[in-house]
């Protein structure tokens, strides 16, 4: 009963269009005030202690690192390297774009940021070379989604915060699915480019490739710092994030010199703005999940699901549909923070691995970012290409279909996610 009341309040508040963080907070206040004896003072304290976790601090650090990389010329050199490697195949710059997105995703934790960084350079270049604008937009919008699957990933940190799963294991688990999805998207690009005979790049000599690699090496080394650092235990994920922020600053300002020192405060402010927005959602989501636990809702729902005889397969289908629907209304961080506390206990009871379930959630979020009405990647791409959303939606579909196939694969083959962290002994 109380579950129904809570969700109705939340839904009504959210649909009025107020910020998600505010609707979560108001739901909690309304319910606690009218229905329970919980001292309401504890709410204020929770607003502070809710984010008093060192793990959460990885989020602002990764955002800061990502912003330095976006504006610091790292993306441009990665694109040059990627195009030198694969640009002579069918798909040319488009295929290079998929690879560049995968590389950039390995240093950045956010999907829309990946679209901004790679798309802003590559999409105009592709149009100049004679690709239809639709093709470039389709490639980059979907490949940019790799940003949250290939570690580091802000959405994975969110999932780990709300379910107490190891960030390190989640990061490692994202590597193989990320590469596989890149291969899926690359294949779609290759296939369509061959069908319509789009321009290819002249084959780069090995000398040019080595040169492109050396130029992008400063950025690529960050992959080693973050993943190597976390895997060997030199850094905790949060420390790795802070190190990568300082490293990215150093590379952008002193090595590539694409960012002026006078721009640094702006980058800091912009990162702080975005981080604060996400942290504010987290604080209120922590309050909300405190309310759910207090009312025993996740437990009751888990018992209900088990009792109704829905097996693992049925539950995963339902979870996927629920998350895809949610992807029509909210952005990934909010969905993970609201749905993870509810779905996670059920998944555990049904014997689904916590890390595997995290990867399923992340891939679902990726799909949601690439279709209207709220797909963030789509809006970023629209901002860059000046194409309308309807037009972009049509442009994206071939890649979106291959993404959905990939989603089914990842959902029902846990091995893809779990083989690497298991082999590395992280779980």
């Amino acid at each position: 009963m109380s579950a129904a009341i809570i969700f109705v309040i939340l839904l009504v508040l959210m649909l009025t269009g107020m910020p998600i963080s505010i609707s979560l907070g108001l739901t909690v206040l309304t319910f606690l005030f009218t229905m329970t004896q919980v001292p309401i003072e504890s709410v204020a304290l929770k607003l502070f202690t809710g984010i008093e976790k060192f793990e959460i601090m990885a989020i602002p650090f990764f955002i800061l690192a990502g912003n330095f990389l976006t504006h610091g010329g790292v993306a441009r050199r990665m694109i040059n390297f990627a195009t030198a490697m694969v640009g002579h195949w069918y798909g040319g710059l488009g295929l290079g774009g998929v690879l560049a997105c995968a590389l950039f995703a390995a240093v950045s934790g956010s999907s829309p940021a990946t679209v901004v960084a790679i798309g802003a350079i590559l999409m105009p270049a592709m149009t100049r070379q004679g690709f239809p604008a639709k093709f470039g937009a389709g490639v980059i919008t979907t490949s940019g989604a790799l940003g949250i699957l290939i570690p580091p990933s802000i959405v994975m940190v969110m999932y780990s915060v709300s379910t107490n799963t190891s960030v390190g294991a989640l990061f490692m688990a994202g590597v193989l699915p990320g590469l596989l999805l890149a291969a899926f998207l690359g294949f779609t690009t290759w296939y369509r480019a061959r069908k319509f005979d789009y321009p290819r790049q002249p084959k780069a000599s090995w000398g040019q490739r080595v040169k492109a690699f050396r130029e992008s090496a400063w950025g690529l080394f960050l992959i080693v710092v973050v993943m190597g650092g976390i895997y060997t235990g030199i850094f905790t994920p949060t420390e790795a994030a802070a190190m990568s922020a300082v490293y990215a600053f150093f590379v952008a300002v002193f090595v590539y010199k694409d960012l002026r020192m006078s721009d640094v405060p702006k980058v800091l402010l912009n990162s702080a703005n975005m981080s604060a927005m996400l942290l504010y959602i987290i604080t209120n989501a922590v309050l909300f999940s405190f309310l759910l636990t207090h009312e025993n809702i996740p437990q009751a729902m888990a018992d209900f699901m088990i009792g109704s005889g829905v097996g693992m397969v049925g539950f995963l289908i339902m979870a996927n549909i629920l998350m895809l629907v949610a992807g029509n209304f909210m952005e990934p961080s909010s969905i993970v923070l609201i749905l993870a506390p509810i779905l996670f206990p059920i998944a555990i009871k049904l014997g689904i691995d916590p890390v595997h379930f995290g990867i399923i959630m992340v891939v679902n979020m990726e799909v949601g970012m690439c279709h209207p009405p709220v797909g963030l990647n789509l809006y970023v791409a629209s901002g860059i290409t000046k194409m309308g959303i309807t037009e972009l939606t049509v442009a994206v579909w071939p890649w979106l279909v291959s993404m959905l196939v990939f989603l089914i694969l990842v959902t029902y083959v846990p091995g893809i996610s779990l083989v690497l962290p298991k082999a590395l002994g992280m779980m």
Binding site: P19, I22, P60, S110, I121, M243, L376
Partner: protein, 238 residues
């Protein structure tokens, strides 16, 4: 006066973001540096205690989150579910936008008050009376944080200060909206203006006229017939 507040807010969160990063960077360097057996340097490094770094970073980020959330109201970055209200007519959408802003002010106002009461009960009241040289009676002196041993009421005062500021920002945005029909946001031109392949430093992926933010009354959708509208709008890059 308001300008000073605006700048203070921006300056504070910029500083907290940069400083927290440097502190963690320094503490990691310190941890591995003191493992190197360089005479002199090692002794010096071992004599510095960095145990407080983690706690200080967390405090700084919580402060950044509270004041940054207030700044976020001013820049219109907070995401919501705006798919439905963005399909309403201007007149009806305006009502919902005002309701949303009022709800924001209400929530942050309540939380600020709760936080203020909590801070007062946990040491602030005691401290203020002590400063004034008054009798503290049986008031509680309040706990301190584990590593830095700062009084927690100072640390927690981020909640009332940040929340009241956020409340004020919501009201400010509401008044602005009622007067002009505009909500704060960056122009799309920031990203649209990319001609020379360099992303402007303040381009923001959460700022794209998507359905995560309410469209205000002067909003122009990009592409399609939006192109015609944009020429009279402000977002044109050329």
């Amino acid at each position: 006066m308001l300008k000073i507040l605006d700048h203070l807010e921006e300056w504070l969160i910029t500083f907290l973001m940069g400083a927290a990063t440097l502190i963690i960077f320094a503490s990691v360097l310190h941890r591995y540096g003191s493992g190197l057996s360089i005479p002199g340097l090692q002794d010096w490094l071992l004599s510095i205690n960095f145990g407080w770094a983690q706690e200080l970073t967390i405090i700084m980020f919580v402060w950044m989150a509270k004041f940054g959330a207030a700044y976020g109201v001013r820049t219109g970055i907070h995401v919501g579910v705006d798919v439905l209200i963005n399909r309403l007519s201007d007149k009806n959408r305006a009502k919902f936008i005002v309701i949303g802003l009022a709800a924001g002010a209400l929530f942050t106002g309540i939380v600020g008050t709760l936080g203020l009461r909590f801070v007062l009960e946990n040491g602030a009241h005691y401290q203020i009376l002590t400063w004034l040289g008054r009798d503290v009676g049986d008031l509680y002196e309040g706990p301190t944080t584990p590593d830095l041993e700062w009084p927690t009421w100072i640390v927690y005062s981020a909640i009332p200060l940040g929340s009241y500021l956020m409340c004020f920002r919501f009201l400010q945005v509401m008044v602005g909206f009622l007067r002009t029909g505009e909500l704060p946001h960056h122009d799309h031109g920031h990203v649209e203006g990319i001609e020379e392949e360099m992303v402007p430093v303040d381009a923001n992926p959460y700022d794209m006229g998507d359905n995560l933010h309410p469209h205000d009354l002067v909003h122009k959708q990009m592409g399609g017939n939006g192109d015609k509208g944009r020429k009279n709008g402000k977002g044109d890059g050329k």
